[in-house]
């Protein structure tokens, strides 16, 4: 599992994260929920080692962060991470060049699932298509964990549905998924666990099905309670 314990991060004299702790088990879909600027992306980037943290520790499968550990974890950031001049075909080639766990068949399935054109230039993709391609890059790796940063933000309805379907497919089966979003609507019933953030603190951390069976509240209900005040 991904274990984040008491991580802190100051950025330009602002405490973006002050003491965040939560767990994201393998095989379950965990979502980090919080309004904009709550530090969601920073947490993902910290887990991926993209930004160093000022305090606390992150362990994946019990191991501290190291280049080898990133064989077992994929990240779908909220922006495209390949040069615009590259064609999709080159992007796939790059992934297979550098990611030992890259699964070419899965990539093919996803490319057709999302109906993406291999000859297109990355720089000229629409926001929705770019997000889909980003997902392909993330999901086509045989990894234990997948981190996704706002996969739905600014995406048209049909693309959203297509993307949501990925969560039900075997692509996600017995993998740990950690997804950040600030509108839970699309994946309300897909998420196993919800971790709610505010001002760099974890204010709620609950199992969604238990919340429904014990309190009959949906994630959105809890959000209304927590973020209303």
């Amino acid at each position: 599992m991904i274990e984040v314990s008491d991580i802190r991060k100051r950025y330009r004299r602002k405490n973006v994260l002050n003491g965040i702790s939560f767990k994201a088990e393998k095989g379950r879909i965990t979502s980090l929920i919080g309004l904009n600027g709550a530090g969601k992306s920073t947490i993902l980037k910290a887990i991926m080692g993209l930004t160093p943290v000022d305090g606390g520790s992150i362990r994946i499968g019990g191991q501290p962060l190291s280049p080898e550990i990133y064989h077992t974890i994929a990240f779908v950031p909220d922006r495209l991470t390949l040069p615009g001049s590259m064609k999709l075909r080159d992007g796939l080639q790059l992934m297979s060049d550098f990611y030992p766990r890259w699964n070419a068949e899965k990539a093919e399935d996803l490319m057709s699932f999302f109906r993406l054109e291999r000859g297109e230039r990355i720089g000229r993709l629409s926001k929705g298509t770019a997000a889909k391609f980003n997902l392909v890059l993330g999901m086509a790796q045989d990894v234990d964990y997948v981190l996704m940063d706002e996969p739905f933000s600014g995406i048209d309805l049909f693309s959203r549905e297509r993307i949501a379907e990925v969560f039900t497919s075997q692509l996600v089966e017995d993998r740990g998924v950690l997804i950040t979003t600030h509108e839970i609507g699309d994946i309300e019933h897909l998420v196993d666990r919800a971790v709610m953030l505010d001002q760099g603190h974890v204010i709620r951390d609950f199992d969604c099905e238990e919340m429904r069976s014990d309190h009959g509240k949906s994630i959105i209900d809890v959000m209304r309670e927590v973020y209303r005040t």
Binding site: K45, M48, G49, L50, T51, P52, P67, E68, I69, Y70, H71, F75, P77, R79, L80, T81, L82, P83, G84, L94, D97, F98, Y99, P100, I122, G123
Partner: protein
């Protein structure tokens, strides 16, 4: 190892158009330059022949031939100008090879920093790629001189032609500053040069980690090293220092090796712990 080579390929591939551009520009200007230089020189000689009523053979007897190296006279800037442009281009790319990942339209730095390989490979592969550009331009220059020698052989009349080896031709031109003909000159120039590239690489990473303070520290250190080496060079030149010139050289080389090791180590540490996407 394969990952390292693939990263090197990636860096080379991304710079290929600029590199080809530099190569095309250099070849064009230098070859045209020689063409013009030969045309001017031959015109001048023909003018002199008619004025003094000499035959080519008599002229050659009196003034003996003109080797390729001496054809250039005032046009030699056609040779050095493209070289300076290439040096400027590569010098600029020392910074761009890093900053383009951060500031390009796409945050390619995310992808690079997330690769499941040691980040030090980024440092080494970018350095290797840069050195490949330098030495490919070096090789191109030698190729161009070879072509120029054939142009010279075809265009110059037999009487004026002075056969010279390629190395002798280079020796006779300003080019020898950039294309050394002596081994230890080459090792010193390109050895010290590559250490300064390492110093600049680490300066960039210092900037990425500590922003302006880091940049300042890096540049100060690099400039300091440059001045120290220059001072050692001057001391050797004066020859009155307590250290003999050969000892000064040994000290300078030791200093540079130390700097290379320091840059590599610090760069590696910064990439691992401090650099952020």
């Amino acid at each position: 190892m394969k990952t390292y080579l693939k990263l090197v390929h990636l860096e080379i591939y991304r710079f290929r158009l600029v590199l080809l551009g530099l190569m095309a520009m250099t070849s064009a200007i230098q070859l045209i330059g020689l063409q013009l230089a030969m045309r001017d020189r031959l015109q001048a000689i023909r003018g002199q022949l008619t004025r003094e009523g000499l035959s080519l053979a008599q002229y050659a007897e009196r003034y003996n031939g003109i080797p390729l190296g001496e054809i250039w006279s005032h046009r030699e800037s056609w040779m050095t100008f493209p070289i300076v442009i290439c040096i400027g281009g590569i010098g600029l790319y020392i910074f761009l090879i890093w900053y383009r990942d951060w500031f390009g339209r796409s945050a390619f730095v995310y992808r690079l920093l997330m690769l499941p390989h040691s980040r030090f490979l980024l440092y080494v592969s970018k350095f290797t790629a840069l050195m490949t550009f330098v030495f490919s331009l070096f090789a191109l220059q030698i190729g161009i001189v070879a072509v120029q020698m054939t142009m010279y052989r075809l265009r110059m009349p037999d009487e004026l032609r002075v056969p010279r080896t390629l190395v002798d031709t280079i020796r006779g031109m300003d080019l020898v500053l950039f294309i050394p003909v002596r081994l230890h000159e080459f090792l010193l120039v390109y050895g010290f040069g590559s250490v300064f590239v390492l110093l600049l690489f680490t300066t960039i990473l210092m900037e990425r980690s500590y922003r302006f303070k880091g940049l300042l520290a890096g540049l100060a250190y690099t400039a300091g090293t440059l001045m120290l080496v220059a001072w050692m060079w001057a001391q050797a030149e004066r020859g009155t220092a307590l250290l003999y010139p050969s000892e000064l050289l040994a000290a300078a080389i030791a200093l540079m090796l130390l700097n290379a090791a320091l840059s590599l180590w610090l760069g590696r540490w910064l990439l691992r712990t401090k650099v952020a996407a």
